[in-house]
């Protein structure tokens, strides 16, 4: 690992072993900065491969990826092709679920011009704001993130001075100063929902880690780059009242050897209910569909 920016002038690493009073003013920064540089170097590598949000690609591109891979996966991709037309990849930087959700949701509003949906979600966003306040978050810690999301929401509705095109939406989603702010907005919303309903989420969290609900939120929800699990998806879907379909592409197969593609719908029922009280028989059609491959989410487009 090369030192950059002259973080350590001399590189006398061995002096870190004892606890000397030495003239190497910066050696101890070495460890942390080194790790962080390593991480940012890793992210930089990732960045070269995939932008935050990629271009829409036909599903055949996915099959090409597994050409010499598992026959189960190829079979599943073939099945996927019956229902889905395209995929849009997101960067695998730990924020892929939130980033996929962001783009998919804003793109839906842009295409549908569904004003009622925008009004509805704004009501939920207000609730989320109150939730954070009641949990003791200082306003200034989250208000910029809320404001930026609401700004994006308004701009995908056409007919305003600030309205944006699909191309502009893609540009913004690839612009770190916007994209990361919206991701962070979702992280706040998710964390607030989990903590507000900590009794509901606690058993799920205990199944994942040994942490308390609050520790989980502080270490696995709020920091950027922490990957999302069912808990995150459930909480975000409930908090914003947006149903989400997740299609699973993994190597599992049925007992009888048959292959089918599983999916799970995260459905917040209206009227203040939530995924907690599922079992609703009403059919819903989520307008956000994500493709899950172990460790990563991308956006799927139905035919």
């Amino acid at each position: 690992m090369q030192n950059r920016e002259g973080v350590v002038a001399d590189g006398e690493k061995e002096s870190a072993v004892s606890i000397p009073v030495s003239e190497f003013d910066d050696w101890a920064k070495f460890a942390d900065d080194d790790i962080m540089q390593q991480q940012s170097a890793f992210h930089a590598e990732e960045a070269k491969k995939v932008p935050f949000v990629g271009d829409k690609e036909p599903l055949t591109m996915l099959a090409a990826e597994y050409e010499s891979g598992s026959p189960i996966l190829l079979e599943k991709i073939k099945l996927l092709g019956q229902q889905y037309a395209a995929i849009r990849r997101t960067r695998g930087d730990g924020n892929c679920f939130f980033r996929s959700f962001m783009f998919s949701y804003l793109e839906y509003v842009l295409e549908s011009q569904d004003h009622a949906e925008v009004d509805r979600i704004k009501g939920n966003v207000e609730e989320c704001r109150k939730t954070l306040q009641s949990l003791g978050y200082a306003d200034f810690t989250f208000e910029d993130f809320f404001a930026l999301f609401l700004e994006q929401l308004d701009s995908v509705l056409q007919g305003n001075e600030d309205s944006i095109s699909q191309d502009e939406l893609i540009i913004r989603s690839r612009d770190q100063s916007i994209s990361d702010y919206v991701v962070m907005f979702f992280r706040f919303v998710t964390s607030g929902e989990i903590r507000k309903r900590s009794e509901f989420f606690e058993p799920f969290i205990l199944g994942l880690t040994n942490a308390t609900v609050e520790q989980f939120c502080k270490s696995s929800v709020e920091p950027m780059g922490e990957e999302s699990d069912h808990v995150h998806i459930t909480a975000l879907s409930d908090a914003l009242g947006v149903p989400i379909r997740v299609v699973y592409l993994d190597r599992s197969s049925c007992d009888n050897g048959g292959v089918s593609v599983n999916h799970h719908d995260f459905v917040p029922t209206s009227g203040g209910h939530s995924n907690a009280t599922s079992g609703s028989t009403e059919p819903v059609s989520p307008f956000i569909t994500l493709l899950y491959r172990p460790g990563h989410y991308d956006i799927l487009y139905p035919k």
Partner: protein, 178 residues
Amino acid sequence: MATVNGYQGNTPVATSTGTKQPAPTAKTVDSQSVLKRLQSELMALMMSGDSGISAFPEEDNIFCWKGTITGSKDTVFEGTEYRLSLAFPNDYPFKPPKVKFETGCFHPNVDVYGNICLDILQDKWSSAYDVRTILLSIQSLLGEPNISSPLNTQAAQLWSNQEEYRKMVEKLYKAPNA
């Protein structure tokens, strides 16, 4: 502050420690919002009236603050006061401030140069933290060190003997100048 290399777009890139320059303007979220955020934090901190912590920007640079924390009651640090420096990067609050002890602190997770090993200042940082919660976290770190990954092994070894530890704290402590 580690550099975030390789990002595209017009986000300012922090390049070194103790950044003095405000960020060049980005499209929507620019240095103004960092400035605004830091001003809000300052206001909130002054209004909060927390005992045992305080912080204020240096003369003319709101990106560099000096803070103080006092050792909590019933810990070996009771009666001591420590001065810290906080240097905020241009992409704060996405990236944590660089926080260091300016007053020498004999503690398992603080090295002789004042660097602190605390997860929320590194990989577990999030924008939900602020100056107040950082200082409170460091204050509680004093009494509840993480012995398993010490920066100061001598302090870590001594921790189990609280009586001896207290003596060491008293011996090494130099009160910050007012």
